[in-house]
C-alpha cells in the first residue's frame, strides 16, 4: 500500500502542482518523533492553504502546519498525521511602510529574512526566539516562543497587530488590523498566539517593528553565588535603567552564575547606563566579563537548543514563576545537578520565565525533569517539556497540569476545529 493511499492525491495535486505534493522519501523530512506523514504539501499562497484544508476537512485528515520545522518537537506526538502543511513558500513581504512602523508578511518568512528586510530601513522586529535562521514568523507565533528581548519589547502578544487565518474547514478570516492601536471588536489574534495551530493556521501576520537603536552595549557579570546575582537583577529592575535584555544565567561547562545585561538607545544614555550597571555589579560583588558578551549572546540566541547538544538525548524545557520567585526557581533547577545530570538554565528576570537544558542518562533525566517541574509547581509555576527522549515523554506529560479554564479551551477547539484535523492530539488534554 503506497503511503499516499487514503489521500485525495489527485485533488491535492490539482491544488499545489506536482513538485509540491511530496509522497516519496521526501516525507521523511517531516518526521515528528517516529511519525511520518502520508504526504507533504508545499502550497504557494494562502488560497492554496485554504483549498488543502477544505479537502483535509472533508476527509478528516490529520494536518500538521509546518514552518521551519525546528520546533516540531514541542507538544505530544500527533494522534493522526496524514499531511504536513509546509508553509515555506509563503515567504513574501506583503506590505512594509517604514514610517508606519509595521510590517505585514506571510507566515513562512524566516525571522532572518525579516531582519534583513527591516535592517535595510534601520528597523527590527524584536521577536528573538531561537534560532533566527530557521524559525518562521508563523511558527514563532503559533508556539509563542520568545527570547531575551522580551525584557524590553514584550512577546508576540505585544507585537502582533493582525493575523490572517486559514481555518480547519478551509474558510479564511482576518483579525485585528494594520494599525498600532485598535479597539475594534474582539482582539481575535490573541486566540491563535501559542495555540500550536489548533484553532487555525496563521498564514499572514502584521507585526509592530521598532527603530534600530543608534547605540548598544552590554555586560556579562560573573557572580560567586545565585543570591548575589539575583539581588543585583532585582536592583536593576527597580532602577530607572531600561535594559533590553536581563538574563540570569546558570551555565554548565564551568561558566557558573552570571547576569547578562544589554542596553540600547542614544549613545549618551547607553554610556550612562553601562556605568551604572558596572557600579551595581561592583556593589553586588560581581566581576565584569565584557569580552565574553558576543559569544554569550550567540549561545543565548540558540538556548536551550544549541549545537553542542545532540538532539533527542537531553531534556529542553521552559517554565515560569512569579518574578519575585525567579531566583528561588533557579536555585531549585541548580539543585538537580547532583542527580547524575548536568543542568543549564537561563531566566528572563523581568518576566519570571525560564528555560533550560538537562543532559544525562534516560532514567536520571526523567527524575531530574520531574524534580524541576515539582519545584516550579511548588512555587505556583509550571514547566513545559520542549524536547525529550521518548522515555521521558512517556513518563511525564510534556504540558504539565492543565489550567482551570481548560473546558473553555476545549469548547473553543470544538468550535474552530470540530473534526480535530489541525495538530490532533498534540496540545493540552483534548485540545
Amino acid at each position: 500500500m503506497s503511503p499516499a493511499s487514503g489521500l485525495p492525491a489527485a485533488e491535492l495535486l490539482a491544488v499545489v502542482g506536482a513538485p509540491h505534493l511530496v509522497t516519496g522519501e521526501g516525507r521523511l523530512r517531516y518526521r515528528i518523533g517516529g511519525a511520518v506523514p502520508r504526504g507533504a504539501l508545499q502550497p504557494a499562497d494562502a488560497g492554496e492553504v485554504e483549498r488543502i484544508l477544505a479537502l483535509a476537512w472533508r476527509d478528516g485528515l490529520g494536518v500538521v502546519p509546518w514552518g521551519g520545522g525546528f520546533h516540531q518537537g514541542i507538544g505530544r506526538p500527533p494522534a493522526r498525521y496524514d499531511l504536513a502543511l509546509d508553509l515555506a513558500r509563503l515567504d513574501r513581504v506583503i506590505d512594509h511602510q517604514p514610517g508606519d512602523m509595521t510590517v505585514t508578511v506571510q507566515a513562512g518568512l524566516t525571522l532572518e529574512a525579516l531582519a534583513a528586510l527591516l535592517g535595510r530601513h534601520g528597523q527590527h522586529c524584536p521577536l528573538d526566539p531561537p534560532p533566527a535562521t530557521r524559525a518562521t514568523v508563523g511558527g514563532v507565533l503559533a508556539t509563542n516562543l520568545s527570547g531575551p528581548l522580551r525584557c524590553r519589547y514584550g512577546t508576540a502578544r505585544d507585537l502582533v497587530l493582525g493575523l490572517r487565518i486559514a481555518h480547519a474547514n478551509g474558510t479564511r478570516s482576518v483579525g485585528g488590523g494594520r494599525v498600532v492601536k485598535n479597539a475594534t471588536a474582539y482582539d481575535i489574534p490573541k486566540l491563535y498566539l501559542g495555540a500550536l495551530g489548533t484553532l487555525g493556521v496563521i498564514v499572514e501576520a502584521t507585526v509592530r517593528v521598532y527603530p534600530r537603536p543608534p547605540a548598544d552595549a552590554g555586560e556579562i557579570i560573573a557572580f560567586p553565588d545565585l543570591s548575589a546575582a539575583a539581588a543585583m537583577a532585582d536592583r536593576l529592575l527597580h532602577s530607572s535603567l531600561v535594559p533590553t535584555r536581563l538574563e540570569l544565567l546558570d551555565g554548565g561547562g564551568g561558566r557558573g552564575i552570571r547576569l547578562l545585561v544589554t542596553l540600547a538607545g542614544v549613545p549618551e544614555a547607553v554610556a550612562f547606563q553601562q556605568n551604572a550597571v558596572a557600579e551595581m555589579a561592583a556593589v553586588a560583588g560581581g566581576k565584569l566579563q565584557t569580552e565574553q558578551l558576543p559569544a554569550d549572546l550567540d549561545l543565548l540566541g540558540e538556548f536551550p537548543w544549541g549545537a553542542d547538544t545532540g538532539r533527542g538525548d537531553g531534556v529542553l524545557w521552559r517554565g515560569g514563576v512569579r518574578v519575585a520567585d525567579c531566583a528561588r526557581a533557579m536555585a531549585a533547577v541548580r539543585g538537580v545537578a547532583g542527580m547524575d545530570v548536568s543542568s543549564e538554565a537561563a531566566a528572563t528576570v523581568s518576566a519570571g520565565t525560564l528555560r533550560g537544558r538537562l543532559s544525562g542518562g534516560p532514567e536520571a533525566l526523567c527524575q531530574a525533569a520531574l524534580k524541576v517541574r515539582t519545584s516550579l509547581e511548588g512555587l505556583g509555576g509550571y514547566l513545559v517539556v520542549l524536547e525529550a527522549p521518548p522515555a521521558v515523554r512517556t513518563a511525564l506529560d510534556v504540558w504539565g497540569s492543565p489550567p482551570g479554564s481548560l473546558h473553555l479551551m476545549q469548547q473553543l477547539r470544538q468550535a474552530f476545529d470540530g473534526r480535530r484535523i489541525l495538530n490532533p492530539g498534540r496540545f493540552l488534554e483534548s485540545l
Binding site: 505585544d158 482582539d187 495555540a195 532585582d234 512569579r322
Partner: protein, 477 residues
C-alpha cells in the same frame, strides 16, 4: 437630545427582585425609576439611552456569580458596568436589562512590589492604582482621559488606551490575569501573574470584549518603574503638513515619545477663544510631545525633537522647565473638548485610527468632508499612533444638522478604513459603531468572533446587542 427607539422597558419579575436583594442586600439593588435614570447612558449619550430594569451593586466575586446565575435562570439579560465613562455605549442598556455595576468592588487586593504586579477588584479606579504604587517607585501605565473616575474593570472591557499609550501600550499589554464570572455564573481565572502558561490566551481575548463574554471582577496588572525624568515640548507650526513632517522625523529617528499629540487649527482657535493657552491664531497646528525615561536619554531626545521641529520648520518650540510649565503646556490639549462645548451647542466625538503615514491625506479629506456636509470638524490626534478624534460640531436644534454631523462622521470612518485604518482606536464599538464593523470585517471575520462569543455565552444574555451588527446576533435575547 435625539434618541433612537430602544426596546421598551421590561418588567423585572418580583421573584427575581427579591432574590437579588437577598444576595446583595437591600441597599445593593436600585429599582426606583429616578435612580435608575443615572444608569441609562454612558459618557457617549449622543444617540442611545435605555432604562435598565434594575441595577445590582454586588460587593464580591461570589455575589456577582450568584447574581449572574440567578439572572440566567430567569432569562434576564445583563449589562455589566463600571464608572459609565465609556464613549461607545458599551454600558448603555437597550432597555429592561439588569445592570450589574461593579462600583462597590473597590478593593486593592494585593500589590507585589518585587514582582511589580497588583491585583484589584473591578471597581477600583484607574488613578488610584498609580497613587497606590507610587511609594514603591512604580506606576500603572494606561491613562485614559477619564482616569480619575474610570475603573480597571471598565478599562479591561474596553481595552482602554490614553495619551501615554504610544510608548507603553494599551490595557491589553498590562493585564496579566483576570477573575471572570462567566454568563453561566461560573467563576474562572483567565491568564495569570505567572506568564506564558500553555493554553489559549483567554485573558487576551477577554480584554476589549466589552462585557459580552462575562463580567470581570478582579484584574491583575503589571506595574512599571516610574521614569526618572519627564520632558514636555510644545511646538507651533504654520501648517499641518509641517507638523506632520516633524512627527514623521521624530518617529523616523527612533524616538518614541510617551505622548505625541496634534491639535489642528479649528481646535487651537477654539481653545484660544475659551482659555487663552497662548496659541497664535494664524498657526496651522500645535504638537505636544512628551518624553519619559532616563534623564540622559531624555535630554538627548529632547534636543533631537527641538531641532527636528525647527527644521520642519515650526513657528516656535518651547520645553517646559518646571512642573507648572508642563501643566500649562498640556492645558490647551486637555481643554480641547471643553472649549468646544463653549463654542458649539453639540458635538459628536469620533474615534478612528489610520496607519500613521496616512495622517496628512486623512486630515485633508476630513476638511473636504466637513465642507461637503456644512459642519465644522476640529481634530485632536494621538499623532504618534495614527489615532484621530475628530469633533464634529453641530446645533441639534437646527433641523438636519445632527444628520449632517452623523453623515460626516460616517464618511470619515469610511475614508479611514479605506486608508487601511480601523473603526475604533480606543473607544470601542458598543452600540455606536456596530453597523460600521462590516466596513472592516467580512461575515467570516465576524463569525470567528461569534464562535468565541457562543463558547462563553451560548444563551447570549451578556450585554446583548453590543459590538455586533444586528444580523450577526442570532442567539441573543
Amino acid at each position: 437630545m435625539p434618541m433612537t427607539a430602544d426596546t421598551p422597558h421590561n418588567a423585572i419579575p418580583i421573584a427575581l427582585l427579591g432574590a437579588l436583594r437577598e444576595i446583595v442586600g437591600p441597599d445593593g439593588v436600585v429599582s426606583d425609576p429616578d435612580e435608575l435614570r443615572v444608569y441609562e447612558a454612558d459618557a457617549f449619550a449622543f444617540q442611545h439611552r435605555g432604562m435598565p430594569g434594575l441595577v445590582v451593586l454586588p460587593t464580591s466575586t461570589p455575589q456577582v456569580a450568584e447574581v449572574v446565575r440567578l439572572c440566567a435562570r430567569h432569562g434576564a439579560a445583563i449589562v455589566p458596568r463600571g464608572a459609565g465613562t465609556g464613549l461607545s455605549c458599551g454600558a448603555t442598556p437597550r432597555g429592561g436589562e439588569v445592570v450589574v455595576a461593579l462600583t462597590r468592588m473597590t478593593r486593592l487586593l494585593s500589590l507585589d512590589a518585587v514582582s511589580r504586579t497588583a491585583t484589584v477588584e473591578a471597581g477600583y479606579v484607574n488613578l488610584w492604582l498609580t497613587q497606590a504604587a507610587r511609594p514603591y517607585g512604580l506606576f500603572y501605565a494606561p491613562d485614559p482621559a477619564s482616569q480619575q473616575a474610570c475603573t480597571l474593570g471598565g478599562n479591561v472591557a474596553e481595552n482602554a488606551g490614553g495619551p501615554h499609550c504610544l510608548k507603553y501600550g494599551t490595557t491589553t499589554n498590562h493585564v496579566l490575569g483576570l477573575t471572570v464570572v462567566l454568563p453561566s455564573g461560573e467563576i474562572v481565572r483567565l491568564g495569570d501573574v505567572v506568564q506564558d502558561r500553555p493554553g489559549y490566551d483567554l485573558a487576551g481575548v477577554f480584554v476589549g470584549s466589552e462585557g459580552t463574554l462575562g463580567i470581570c471582577t478582579e484584574v491583575t496588572v503589571r506595574l512599571m518603574p516610574a521614569p526618572e525624568s519627564v520632558k514636555t515640548i510644545l511646538a507651533i507650526f504654520r501648517t499641518m503638513e509641517d507638523a506632520s513632517t516633524a512627527v514623521s522625523n521624530i518617529i523616523g529617528r527612533g524616538i518614541i515619545p510617551v505622548a505625541l499629540e496634534m491639535i489642528d487649527r479649528p481646535t487651537l482657535q477654539a481653545v484660544e477663544a475659551s482659555s487663552h493657552a497662548g496659541y497664535p491664531l494664524d498657526a496651522g497646528a500645535v504638537l505636544l510631545i512628551e518624553l519619559e525615561g532616563l534623564r540622559a536619554e531624555i535630554e538627548a531626545e529632547a534636543a533631537g525633537v527641538e531641532s527636528i521641529c525647527r527644521e520642519a520648520p515650526c513657528l516656535s518650540v518651547q520645553t517646559a522647565q518646571s512642573e507648572a510649565e508642563r501643566i500649562r503646556l498640556w492645558k490647551g490639549r486637555k481643554e480641547a473638548a471643553g472649549a468646544f462645548s463653549r463654542i458649539s451647542k453639540h458635538f459628536y466625538h469620533e474615534d478612528t485610527v489610520v496607519p500613521r503615514t496616512k495622517l496628512p491625506q486623512v486630515i485633508a479629506e476630513i476638511d473636504a468632508i466637513a465642507a461637503r456636509n456644512s459642519v465644522r470638524v476640529a481634530s485632536v490626534f494621538h499623532a504618534g499612533d495614527g489615532n484621530l478624534h475628530p469633533l464634529i460640531c453641530y446645533d441639534g436644534d437646527v433641523a438636519g444638522q445632527m444628520e449632517s454631523a452623523l453623515r460626516a462622521g460616517s464618511e470619515i470612518i469610511h475614508y479611514c478604513i479605506a486608508a487601511g485604518g480601523a473603526v475604533s482606536g480606543e473607544h470601542g464599538i458598543g452600540l455606536e459603531k456596530r453597523d460600521q464593523l462590516r466596513l472592516m470585517f467580512s461575515p467570516a471575520d465576524l463569525e470567528a468572533m461569534q464562535k468565541v462569543r457562543r463558547v462563553f455565552d451560548p444563551a447570549g444574555g451578556m450585554n446583548p446587542g453590543k459590538i455586533f451588527p444586528d444580523e450577526e446576533r442570532g442567539a441573543e435575547r
